[in-house]
Structure formats: structure tokens, C-alpha cells
Assembly symmetry: C2
Homo-oligomer: 109 residues x 2
């Protein structure tokens, strides 16, 4: 597993993909959205964020293009693909399954 379980490892891609279903977004914006929406329960560092975004691109679960303002400020906008939506659905199903399993163990008497 991860270096330290700051938050649940393995769920990052899912969270990012979910965020992208709300509309195209850029890295920093995605991280902010996750942090705010989770009410600070999930703080994703940049050292986790950008590698995760690379994974999404490599697997073609998202595409990206650069937007630059006239002043030279550049932003990389990510957009979820159809394949990404399929992947998200699978990850949610798998996550829910694991969660149900964990719940059964944790509730056992």
C-alpha cells in the first residue's frame, strides 16, 4: 500500500473520474473540489494528484488539452471519456462490493 494511508488508497482514480463527470476541470480545481466536497476529510496532495491524472490519460479514461490565457497563463483541462465513464461505473461497483464485505466483517458478533 501507499506510504501512509492519509486517505483510502485505491479510491483516488474513482474520485477524480467522478469529479470529471460534473464537467471538465483542471488538476488544481479537481483537488479543490474533492477537498471542499468531502469537507476536508480528503486532502489530495499534488504528488498523488498528477500521477493519478497521468494514469487516467494513459488509460484513455480522460483526455486533456491546454488552455492558455493571452498573458501566458496555462491550464490543463481534463475531460472524462466514454471509456472513463465505464471505468468509473466498474470502480464504483467494486468499491461498493468491498465496502459491503468490510461492513459484514465489522458488524459481526
Amino acid at each position: 500500500m501507499p506510504k501512509s494511508a492519509e486517505f483510502l488508497p485505491g479510491t483516488l482514480d474513482m474520485l477524480i473520474l467522478k469529479t470529471l463527470t460534473l464537467g471538465p476541470n483542471h488538476g488544481y480545481g479537481i483537488a479543490q473540489h474533492i477537498r471542499r466536497t468531502s469537507q476536508d476529510a480528503l486532502k489530495i496532495g499534488e504528488g498523488s494528484l498528477y500521477p493519478a491524472l497521468q494514469r487516467l490519460l494513459i488509460n484513455e479514461w480522460a483526455i486533456a488539452d491546454w488552455r492558455s490565457s493571452d498573458t501566458g497563463r496555462r491550464v490543463r483541462m481534463y475531460r472524462i471519456t466514454a471509456s472513463g465513464k465505464k471505468q468509473l461505473k466498474q470502480e464504483v461497483e467494486s468499491f461498493d462490493g468491498l465496502l459491503a464485505g468490510i461492513a459484514r466483517v465489522m458488524d459481526a458478533v
Copy 2:
């Protein structure tokens, strides 16, 4: 994170500690209990199980002693400690917090 997310990384110690609150148990028995109770959702391999048990011992969240039958069959029985129960409580709280955060993100519209 882990080599592959066969099940949610970071939850293994919690699951084992929880299992031990049901009574002393040995490695194989713990794994069986988790598998059965989770209805096969969680299958923990031996390459994950024994290192996890070592962690519990090192942190003194559990203690262990060998039981051998007259024939020479040996079993290592694990027992949760008071410190282990405290740790379990903390892990459950942290887990629930993360879960709530994830839920908020995944339910966002």
C-alpha cells in the same frame, strides 16, 4: 499503495483486530473468518496475512503464543491487547471519516 487493490488497502489491520475481538484465533482461522463473514468479498492471501500479523505483534496490538498438540502440530494463537482495542477504535473512526468524505464526493451533483 499496494501491488494491486484486491481489496481496500489499509483496512487489513482493522479487519484482523476486529476478528480478534470475537476471541483468540490463529492466522488461518482469521483469514477463514474474514473470507466467510464477508461472503467471499474479501480474500486475504497468506502473503498479506502474516506480515499484517507481524505488524500487530510489533505494535503490541496483539500477543501470540504457540499451541502444540502431542503429535507436534503447532498453532500460533493471537489475542488482542487493550492497546489493540484502542487502536481498533481509532482505525474505525478514521475509516468512517474517510468513508463519509468519499460518500460526499461520490454523491455530489
